[in-house]
Point group: C2
Chain length 154, copies 2
DNA sequence: TATTGTTATACTCTATAACTATA
DNA sequence: TATAGTTATAGAGTATAACAATA
């Protein structure tokens, strides 16, 4: 998925959209598309995607996390995550250690290069989120996050 | 995309997830996945997907809507929408009329069979939404919808 | 020439099956 | 035998280019 599209920013004022506007799943989809499109614009220069951003953050905050935990957390199938991890490792952003306690298990770590990348990306995060949520007050932004957290199984 | 997955319902309590939980784009993605997975479960018997559900609703409320408007509203590329419309038409759920004012333009309508299908689907909608939003009060559900509407360009 | 709809096609994302190695 | 990781591969979903018919 790449950039926006010329046709979608002020869509079709003349249509009756009440039913969809009251459909949470549809509104969540549109909101997620907006965030992902904005993400690609803001983070393109760093070469970070929504998926790799989340992977970096989780490894940063949980060094040694195994791929299986990462996959279930991010809602990625393990084989699909492995492909991304292979690219991140061959690019030198992460490394894999074999666990000494259980030699089947893999422990994921950031390399210094990876730590540097997520550090730079993290500085874009706040202004990016602010831009996406601009129509909401600070309190409303917190409310939105809290409601989303409540409907999810954390 | 089809059903849930055994591994993701109570993910990884032991990990530090604070950063992602404060990342609206990530939480929106998880919420959207939850709604779509639940949708497939609830609407599978009717053969309706999130995309076709939205298409049916817009045509029902806006008979004669052209494919181009439908595509920009639903954030689908026109060629991808056309493929879905072809299937819905050959299955007898919608029909295409050529506009008399502009013979390039197509006007989309539900057939009686399509109207019946969306009528049956609409009866599943309220309990489905209630199930997805169960952790929220009625007032909170309204707040969530309102905040999502505010960050989108309607 | 520009616009609407359409076809063909490529690319990305996601899903399943099967394999390796450890336990 | 069961589990963690990996590979291979198939299937959706989404993207662009090019074309026909009409304006």
């Amino acid at each position: 998925m790449k950039p926006a599209g010329k046709s979608g920013q002020q869509p079709e004022k003349s249509l009756n959209l009440q039913a969809l506007q009251r459909t949470p799943g549809f509104m969540l989809r549109l909101a997620q598309l907006k965030f992902f499109e904005g993400f690609y614009e803001e983070f393109a220069a760093l070469g970070v995607t929504p998926a790799t951003y989340a992977i970096f953050v989780v490894i940063r905050d949980n060094p040694g996390v195994p791929p299986s935990s990462l996959a279930s957390l991010l809602r990625l199938r393990l084989p699909n995550l492995i492909k991304i991890l292979n690219e991140l490792e061959s690019s030198g952003f992460i490394k894999r250690n074999r666990s000494k306690a259980d030699r089947r298990a893999v422990e994921l770590m950031l390399t210094p290069k990876g730590a540097k990348l997520i550090h730079e990306a993290a500085r874009v995060t706040a202004p990016y989120n602010q831009k996406m949520l601009a129509p909401l007050s600070e309190a409303e932004q917190r409310t939105l996050l809290e409601l989303l957290n409540r409907i999810l199984p954390f």
